[in-house]
């Protein structure tokens, strides 16, 4: 579903991604871990077509939607308008199907997105991405700044979409525990380079990964 080969992305003279190669199969839910500044969001933006690679290839089969880091809503517009604009590519302007999946959004519909709590904003960003009827969803920092119960609620929806509707998911996270809990496979990105990849269970047992992202060996 996603094939990235030898991807190099640079901001001027600074290389953000250095020969990154990864592959995600249809229906998979894969995690991408890494510290701040590793190049995770650069990869997300490149997959979404917002950045142009300096070299390498990016192939995405199917419609991709991105839930960007920090939600990135339209704060002056209502929740309903935010959702409607999410359907710009797909032509779907009626948010009813998203309300079925996330009923809380129907209650928030007339409110300005900028005044919502972090959790509610993340839900709007989630709903807005779904409005484009994606086949691939890239989630950049689902848990960032959210209470654990809010994160787990959104994660539940993500798993449901993946398992019941076959949505392919790339979950970009700093919270490795969450990522390992939700995904079977993961990549680890550091300073623009992939430094580890494999099954989450194996990575969790890797002392280097566990030390860096789990605060010690996972039990």
């Amino acid at each position: 579903m996603i094939d990235v080969t030898g991807l190099v992305v640079a901001y001027g003279s600074a290389t953000a991604l250095d020969h990154v190669t990864l592959s995600i199969r249809p229906g998979e839910m894969v995690a991408l871990l890494g510290p701040n500044g590793a190049g995770k969001s650069t990869l997300a933006n490149t997959l979404a077509g917002l950045l142009t690679p300096a070299s390498g290839t990016v192939t995405v089969r199917g419609r991709l939607a991105l839930i960007p880091e920090g939600r990135q809503l339209f704060p002056d517009l209502s929740v309903a308008d935010n959702l409607a604009l999410g359907g710009w590519r797909s032509g779907q302007r009626d948010p009813a199907p998203v309300y079925t999946l996330l009923p809380r959004l129907a209650e928030l519909a007339p409110r300005r997105a900028g005044v919502l709590s972090g959790g509610e904003q993340q839900m709007v960003a989630f709903g807005r991405a779904l409005m484009s009827r994606p086949e691939v969803l890239v989630v950049d920092e689902l848990s960032l700044g959210l209470a654990p119960n809010v994160t787990s609620g959104l994660a539940r929806h993500l798993v449901e979409l993946n398992q019941e509707r076959g949505l392919t998911v790339l979950l970009i996270e700093q919270n490795a525990r969450l990522a390992f809990e939700l995904c079977e496979r993961a990549y680890v990105l550091e300073s623009g380079r992939l430094v580890a990849e494999g099954d989450c269970a194996d990575l969790a047992g890797d002392p280097r990964v566990a030390g860096a992202y789990l605060g010690g060996a996972i039990t």
């Binding site: 990135q72 339209f74 704060p75 308008d81 604009l85 484009s132």
Partner: protein, 286 residues
């Protein structure tokens, strides 16, 4: 008293024309972040076009609509020059719009010469509470009122209008959902051209217009737009009406040669007050 009322009504009409210029500035700035200093040019181009078309014998209505469409095209071309190249910063685009304004002088002088031109508008006048007001002034007020209602409906109710607002609100998010920010920016420039053109065809029958009238128009329009923080059309309208009335009063009571100074002075005061408010907000946030 009737003189005062007369100045007030005429001032409101002048303010409405300024508001149309300001709304064009706001429309472009809201969507692209660019302050378009060629905004006055659109009004000049439309005014001169209308004058020529009417001179060629084309009927009223058709001439004005054609002139406004030419101004919209001028807006689109200015947009292409200002934001056509991906990655152009708003500051660079601002400089480009200044350049377009200067280039337009040359084109206008070649096409229309350097002498002021006028165009016939609605003839006659009406008396309101003892004050005489030209029918053209009433037309300016009516057209501006309708235009602002249509603008509010466009930005507040239509999908395209909301997409334009989204570009202004969060350009990165707009790109994430698939909006073509550059193309919508060009649409905003065309809309700005249309609004400027509307001001031009309405003002030309009241004040002869020449290639360099854009300076007065942009100073006034910018003063009103700054009043609304370059983002709020309705506040810009209020600013424009205030400016129009202040200028007309100044002219009416014997300070006609200081109209531009009134606009500049008001703009200065508003910018200083707003700068003060911003720093207060910043300090509170910190």
């Amino acid at each position: 008293m009737s003189a005062f009322l007369g100045y007030l009504l005429n001032g409101l009409a002048v303010g409405c024309a300024i508001a149309l210029i300001a709304s064009g500035l706001v429309a472009i700035h809201r969507v692209t972040g660019v302050v378009n200093f060629a905004q006055g040019t659109f009004a000049v181009v439309a005014g001169l076009c209308a004058s020529s078309l009417l001179g060629l014998g084309l009927p009223h209505g058709l001439s004005e609509v054609a002139a406004v469409l030419v101004a919209a095209l001028a807006g689109l071309l200015t947009g292409l020059a200002a934001i056509g190249r991906p990655g152009t910063t708003p500051l660079s685009s601002l400089i480009v719009t200044l350049g377009v304004g200067v280039l337009a002088y040359a084109v206008e002088i070649v096409l229309w010469g350097d002498q002021p031109r006028s165009a016939p508008g609605l003839a006659g006048s009406v008396t309101v509470a003892g004050a005489r007001i030209q029918t053209q002034h009433l037309l300016v007020i009516a057209v501006t009122a309708v235009t602002f209602v249509l603008l509010a409906l466009f930005f507040g109710r239509t999908y395209l209008g909301k997409a334009l607002t989204a570009c202004a609100s969060n350009p990165y998010a707009a790109r994430v959902v698939g909006l073509d920010v550059r193309r919508l920016g060009l649409l905003a420039f065309a809309l700005g051209g249309l609004l400027g053109g509307l001001a031009g065809v309405l003002v030309t029958p009241l004040r002869p217009i020449s290639f360099d009238t854009d300076v007065t128009l942009i100073v006034n329009g910018f003063a009103a737009a700054v009043f609304g923080g370059l983002t709020r059309p309705v506040v810009a309208l209020a600013g424009a009406l205030l400016l129009g009335v202040a200028e007309t009063m100044a002219a009416g009571y014997g300070y006609g040669s200081h109209q531009l100074e009134v606009a500049l002075g008001l703009m200065l005061v508003v910018m200083i007050v707003q700068a003060g408010r911003r720093s207060t907000i910043h300090q509170e946030a910190v």
